[in-house]
Symmetry: C2
Subunit: 110 residues, 2 copies
DNA sequence: CTAACGTGCAACCAAATGGTTGTAGAAACT
DNA sequence: AGTTTCTACAACCATTTGGTTGCACGTTAG
């Protein structure tokens, strides 16, 4: 899929979803394989409902997708959103390089 | 400076700080030049105190640094934290590539 | 010296977050 | 058919977040 242009709200949800250690751990598991919500929940010292909410946050951020297999719901990562986030940070770094270049020019001219 | 290893809490603060459009805008300005807190505040439709809090959040995430110049406080970006965040996302993408490679191997062997 | 400016901080408020327990429905096993 | 498993969701609670106003303090300008 092509890299989409994200609205500010989507970027908010993206970084918000990444701002929690449990969710980053769930994301890492979802990146390496398919796991049901219960399988994921068994890994953490919190209730099933809490893990379910974390998965929902990752889903709203488009970082993971759920697909039904019988009575369980398989959570898998969508690397596109991840790439979008990385792309945003690269844009910020490009801004920084612009500034450094401008300062260099000033020093060279002076 | 060398890329540091970040604690989970530091990563939380990093992504949390990036999860707000106003803060991302402040960061973009801080990346391209030095601005006092009042100068930044004049750009947004909210109180000075609100902008001051946003700058404090960016500061706790090590994304910006404040340096005194007379009675004003100049906000400048620290690109190291930005690079750290991008590096983290690259690690997640590396996980994804591992998974893709494993699936490819399965298909090749089968 | 006095006034104005830039900042920091506390108190307060509404809304969102991260957790809990409990209930209920759909799918699967016996 | 009945029971268990997996998931979803509501209600509730404490804490955090994002905003406000007001006040105090150091620094600069007149």
């Amino acid at each position: 899929m092509v890299v989409e242009t994200l609205s500010p709200d989507e970027v908010d949800r993206l970084f918000q979803a990444l701002a929690d250690a449990t969710r980053r751990d769930i994301l890492a598991r979802a990146l390496t394989g398919e796991h049901s919500v219960t399988a994921l929940a068994s890994r953490y010292e919190m209730s099933f409902a809490a893990v379910q909410k974390h998965v929902a946050v990752l889903e709203r951020a488009s970082l993971v997708v759920k697909t039904r297999r019988g009575r369980e719901q398989l959570v898998t990562a969508d690397p596109d959103a991840l790439a979008a986030a990385r792309g945003l940070l690269e844009q910020y770094e490009a801004l920084w390089r612009l500034r450094v270049a401008a300062i260099d020019d000033l020093l060279a001219d002076g």
